[in-house]
């Protein structure tokens, strides 16, 4: 059974005092909670990596939790920060790849990630940017194929994808 807020808070206070047994239980339970948190946000293959990243952050920043405040919103804020950082890295890498060419060579994970993360945000992009991001990053077309399909020049396709992904990253980072 997943630990509740009161249990988390008690364990965290003990961990701040240096209790290693409490730390083990807390990190284990937080791992379960984080798995649920990330399961709806990233592809399954990336969940464990993100959970471990947050556990490291939780441990490193344990002094920043105030026992007068609830624990789970504190943990959720760290989890969201790490998730945004993960998306930012993914989008930045995707943008750099595109400038070098060949969006069709993305791994399956990247495509799934793009599908999960981008579709909900497409409404915030100009139509031209959203269209070519969908063609290249979701359907897996090459720059040339996307150019032929969209009627945009190959250079414009690259620029639109690059700008669109940067804007999406900024949107995610700003969102509460």
């Amino acid at each position: 059974m997943l630990a509740d807020e009161t249990t988390f808070a008690r364990l965290m206070a003990a961990m701040q005092d240096g209790d290693r047994a409490a730390a083990t239980v807390l990190l284990t339970e937080a791992g379960v909670w984080l798995e649920r948190y990330f399961r709806r946000r990233v592809p399954p293959g990336q969940v464990d990596d993100l959970v471990q990243e947050v556990l490291i952050a939780l441990h490193a920043k344990r002094a920043t939790w105030d026992p007068a405040r609830p624990f789970l919103p504190w943990l959720a804020a760290i989890a969201r920060y790490r998730w945004v950082d993960h998306l930012r890295r993914t989008y930045r890498d995707a943008g750099e790849e595109l400038l070098e060419d060949s969006g069709a060579s993305d791994s399956d994970e990247d495509v799934v990630l793009a599908r999960v993360s981008l579709e909900r945000l497409f409404a915030h992009l100009p139509a031209g940017q959203a269209e070519v991001i969908a063609l290249v990053k979701i359907e897996g077309l090459s720059i040339e194929e996307a150019s032929a399909r969209s009627g945009q020049s190959a250079s414009l396709v690259k620029v639109n994808i690059h700008r669109g992904l940067r804007k999406l990253a900024a949107l995610v980072e700003k969102a509460d």
């Binding site: 961990m15 701040q16 005092d17 240096g18 209790d19 290693r20 047994a21 730390a23 083990t24 990190l27 284990t28 791992g31 379960v32 464990d48 959970v51 471990q52 556990l55 490291i56 952050a57 441990h59 490193a60 920043k61 344990r62 002094a63 920043t64 939790w65 105030d66 026992p67 405040r69 919103p73 504190w74 943990l75 959720a76 804020a77 760290i78 969201r80 920060y81 980072e173 700003k174 509460d176």
Partner: protein, 217 residues
């Protein structure tokens, strides 16, 4: 429960390295920024000499208005900065935005005063020979405040880096101008409204560009 072997190993290693920690308190950050402001004011006074007109009552009302608004902006942005220094979700205070808007009235008023002055009688404003001195000294004083804020933020765990960077710049710019302001005997609206306010947006822009990479964790 299904836990990957690597995660189990990580948890064991983290638990093993767990030692007592001293809590990070936003009040300590506020005190640090306040101390940095006082240190910057003391340093400015040591270098340029404290303006005695403040103590003797010779300072004009503009002096008190401008520096009062700088103090309010510094307090609002520092409070918001420290509130966002620890991980949290939910609404964030927008008092700094209103304080910036209020401060923004001053340059407008200064420009109006300069434009409407009779020819040959324009107050020291755009061509103010002391402008660069006040601007650069205020920014230098602001750097002391910014360093204190960044040092604290690196101990803490801010999760909205862009916002924290803006707030650092606003606090540094306003408190830096305030700290240097105690040495400046030029108390006209044109001088104060332009050259003691301009450090605020400049520091904000600089901090927005630089601070995120210093406080990312």
């Amino acid at each position: 429960m299904n836990q990957s072997p690597s995660r189990a190993a990580l948890i064991a290693a983290l638990a093993e390295s767990t030692v007592p920690v001293r809590r990070v308190r936003p009040a300590e950050g506020t005190a640090l920024v306040a101390a940095a402001t006082l240190a910057a004011a003391a340093g400015a006074s040591a270098i340029f000499a404290f303006w005695s007109g403040i103590a003797t009552g010779a300072a004009s009302p503009f002096f008190w208005i401008v520096n009062g608004l700088l103090l309010l902006l510094g307090a609002a942005s520092t409070t918001a900065l420290m509130a966002g220094a620890l991980p949290q979700v939910g609404a964030r205070p927008n008092a700094p935005l209103w304080a910036v808007a209020m401060l923004g009235v001053l340059p407008l008023a200064a420009v109006i005063e300069i434009v409407r002055a009779p020819a040959g009688d324009a107050p020291a404003g755009l061509a103010d020979p002391d402008a660069l001195h006040c601007l650069s000294s205020s920014l230098a004083a602001g750097l002391v405040v910014a360093l204190a804020a960044v040092l604290f933020l690196r101990r803490a765990a801010p999760v909205a880096l862009a916002r924290q960077a803006w707030l650092t710049g606003l606090a540094a710019g306003s408190l830096g101008a305030l700290a240097f302001g105690v040495t400046c005997p030029l108390d006209t609206l044109a001088h104060l409204g332009l050259w003691h306010v301009l450090p605020v947006p400049l520091a904000g822009l600089a901090a927005r560009a630089i601070v995120p990479r210093l406080i990312r964790w």
